[in-house]
Structure formats: C-alpha cells, structure tokens
C-alpha cells in the first residue's frame, strides 16, 4: 500500500506545482455547458436531459484526464522507475486510479456548481446527497477503466486516438447507469432518491472492472 501512496503523492504534488489536467478538465466542462446551452437552445434543463448533459460532459472531461494520465511516466522514465523498484507493479495502477478519482472529484466540485448555476432548472439541493453517491460510483468506474485504457494507449502510436475510441464504448454501461440514476434527482416536479437498480448496476460495473483491471494491469508493464 505504501508504494501506491508514495506514487499518488507524487502525482498530486506534480499537479499542484504545475497544474495541467484539472484546469483543462474544468475549463472543458464549463465550455461544454455553454455549448449545450446553444446546441440545445435551452436556458434550463431538468430530468433526464439534465442528467445526460451533466454525465456526458463529465465523461468527456474525464477523457482529457485519461489521455494525460501516464504522459509523465512515459516521457520522464517513470515506468522504468516502477519496474526497477522492488514493488508490485499494480501499485502504479492503484495510485493512478486513485489520482484520477481525486482529480475527477475536484473537477466535479466546481463543474456541478457551474452546471447548477448555468443550466439546471430545479434546485440542486434536495438531490445533492444522491448526486454525490452517484458521482462517486461513476468516478470509480471512470478511474479504473481510465487508468487501464490510459496505460494501454500510452505506448501506441496513435495514443490520443486510441483513448477515446476504446474508453467511450467501454464506459457506455457506466454512463447509462449514471444518467438514469441521476435523472430523478433533477426532476422538475421535485427530486427523489436515485433508483437502487441503477446504483446496483453501477456498483457491479465498478466491482467487475476494478478487479479485472487490477488483474490484467501487470501485463501492460513488462518492458
């Protein structure tokens, strides 16, 4: 566990000294909300539409972060460092997934507020606890799949092309569940809790892909 924490601390320090992924994801999210306002031709959204706008925006913002996740390792020899160190290689996966989770949480802190101000029709407060739960589960999905896809794509020729075309279909079930679970929270007639069916699907997705990615990550770091 300690190597993971050390690697995570390294990533957080890097992001604090030279902010790169978080500001980009944040600006991207807010710009996308503005684009949705003009693209949909609406001042306010509610219900399923609001849930879709929010979750799709966060998914695309996550793609930006996923693209950058291993760039430092690739360019500055971090992979060699991990391979040479007497630690489990999955420590890197755990650190990267945890880092991406934290990045996404920070981005959502601002992006959800911006969404509530710019686009959301009904008040966000009644549905907030449910929203935190859904977004936490969605972030786990984005983090584990994102860390794996990022490691898969980093040493290919077409890195920034491979990440979205692989990650988007792979994350479709998580997006379906998150968007459906969020919809009742933004209902114009008054928020109700997120349906347990969708929370269960999302949790199942997290569990299956978390374990699977943990199991196969080793094979991506061999040379």
């Amino acid at each position: 566990m300690r190597p993971s924490i050390a690697l995570l601390r390294k990533d957080l320090l890097l992001e604090r000294r030279a902010p790169e992924a978080i500001p980009a994801m944040l600006l991207f999210s807010v710009t996308t909300f503005v684009l949705f306002h003009f693209g949909l031709g609406r001042d306010e959204v509610a219900g399923q539409l609001a849930a879709g706008v929010l979750t799709v925006t966060l998914l695309f913002a996550a793609i930006l972060g996923i693209n950058r996740l291993f760039v430092a390792e690739q360019e500055e020899g971090g992979f060699d460092g991990v391979l040479l160190a007497p630690i489990d290689r999955t420590a890197l996966f755990v650190a990267k997934a945890a880092g991406l989770f934290l990045f996404l949480a920070l981005v959502e802190l601002v992006a959800v507020a911006a969404f509530a101000i710019l686009l959301l029709g009904p008040s966000p407060w009644p549905g907030l606890p449910g929203l935190v739960l859904v977004l936490a589960l969605l972030n786990v999905a984005l983090a584990v799949v994102g860390a794996l896809v990022s490691a898969l794509a980093i040493r290919t020729r077409a890195r920034d092309l491979i990440v979205p075309i692989v990650a988007l279909p792979l994350l479709t079930p998580a997006l379906i569940a998150a968007a459906r679970a969020t919809a009742p929270l933004f209902d114009a007639a008054g928020a109700s809790g997120p349906p347990t069916k969708w929370l269960a699907v999302l949790a199942l997705y997290d569990l299956v892909f978390g374990l699977l990615a943990y199991a196969v990550f080793d094979f991506l770091l061999e040379d």
Binding site: P173, V201, F219
Partner: protein
C-alpha cells in the same frame, strides 16, 4: 501440415447449412403475426448468439495467451475476434432488416439486444486499430490480449445495463420456458445455431490455416532465395508469429537434408 480436417469441416458445414435452410423454408411453420419475414429469425438470432459466444471465447484465448505466453493463443484470439466482428456486422444488418419489417423502423432504440449489439460492435471495432498502432509484435500481442479480456467481460455486463434501461420489445425466444416457440420452430432453431457455429469454426480454421501457410511460404522462400528476396512485412494488425526471431512455436521445415533425415 496446415488445414488438417478442413475438407471434412467444410462438408459438414455445407450439409448443416443446406439442411437448415431447407427446413427453414419447407418445414418450419409460418409465424402467425409476422408471416414470412419471421424466417430471418433463423439467421439473425444464431448469428447473434455465435457472435457473443465468440467474443467471450476470444477473451478466454487471450487469457490463455497471457498465462502460457504461447503466441498461438494470440493468433486464435485474433482470428476469433476478427470473424466475430464480421458476424457482428451481419447480425446488425439482419437485425435492422427484421426491425424494419416487423416494427417499421430500421433502428429501434428500445430494443436492448440490438442496442447492446451495436455497443459491443463499437468496442470490438477498436481491436484492430489498437493492434495496428503497436509495432512491436510481442507487445502488440500482450496489449491486444489485455484488451480482449476487458472487452470479453464487457459483453455480458453491457447486456445487463442495456436490458435494464429499455422496455421489452424484443421477442424473448429463450428467456421463458418453452418461450412460446413451437417445437417445430425450436428444432429448426437449434439446427440453425449448430450450422452457424460450424460456419464460424470453419471460417476461423480457414483463416488460421491461410496465415500459417503464408508464413511457411515466406520461410521457405527466405531459405531458398536468401533473406533479401523476401520483402519484410509491413506494419500489420494481424499477429505475425511465423517471422524469424518472433517466437519459435511454429513448426518449421527441416533446415538441411541431414536434419530431414534424422
């Protein structure tokens, strides 16, 4: 010798397909609601079932490749996913035709099987670009196996999510007991699945045999004409395990007469 048993498998597939189509047209009863168009069911559903099973099979082969480090498993995984992708397109097209005929639209979103099928197709369509963008053959095989395992696990999970998201429109032929499928139809349907599975296996065997023959031919040309006479392979999405210094698992012809005699 490559392609052992291909002739027998070809004949069996031909017989099974002919028998299936004969029974579909002359034996299976007409559907009371949909009439003749319902007969596409005997192509569409078996193709879909074989496709999904093949994706899972590709994942199992990929796991075996990672476990044993035998590149032949990567070749099998590649070929299975390759043919399954073609079957997947066939399933999407027949599904669209059936949807147009029975519901009046080429595409129906509230139909979980078709939608999951599209998502699975979109995911597996990235398998070849991923392979193509990795040059080192060993790493290509390894990364492709990791992808195949994730994607294979994705197939059932995706079905759970999409099915939960949509109302039931699609006929549930296998879900309920006896499914409302008359015994005559069920018999033809089972035969159609067997025929499609045979066709799938046959195509896979052909592709593997063709690839191995091509590699052997290259190896022979290299030995006879010298390595300059054989142009190096370009970048490829396909596994290349017959090339020299890239895994010695392929059976090679003996190098000289003395070796052949021993």
């Amino acid at each position: 010798m490559y392609g052992k048993g291909l002739r027998a498998l070809s004949l069996a597939t031909f017989a099974a397909l002919t028998a299936t189509f004969a029974l579909v047209f002359f034996y299976a009863p007409l559907d009371a609601d949909q009439g003749f168009i319902q007969k596409i069911f005997y192509v569409h559903v078996p193709v879909a079932i074989v496709t999904l099973c093949a994706y899972v099979l590709g994942a199992i082969f990929a796991a075996l490749h990672l476990r044993t480090r035998d590149r032949r498993w990567d070749l099998r995984s590649y070929v299975v996913i390759h043919i399954a992708l073609i079957f997947n397109i066939l399933g999407l097209l027949t599904g669209a035709i059936w949807a147009k005929a029975s519901w009046g639209h080429w595409w129906v979103w509230d139909e979980p099987t078709l939608v999951s099928f599209l998502i699975v197709f979109l995911l597996f369509a990235t398998y070849q670009p991923l392979r193509f963008s990795i040059e080192d053959p060993e790493r290509q095989a390894r990364y492709a196996s990791v992808f195949a395992i994730m994607a294979g696990a994705f197939v059932p999970l995706n079905f759970v999510a999409v099915r939960a998201a949509t109302a039931y429109v699609h006929p549930r032929v296998l879900g309920t007991t006896n499914g409302g499928l008359p015994s005559q139809m069920a018999l033809v349907f089972v035969l159609a699945i067997v025929a499609m599975a045979l066709l799938f296996a046959l195509l896979c065997c052909y592709e593997i045999a063709a690839k191995q023959t091509r590699w052997q031919l290259r190896a022979l040309r290299r030995r006879l004409l010298g390595s300059d006479a054989v142009a190096p392979l370009g970048r490829s999405a396909a596994p290349s395990l017959g090339e020299p210094a890239r895994g010695g698992s392929v059976t090679r012809a003996p190098r000289n007469p003395a070796e052949a005699a021993s």
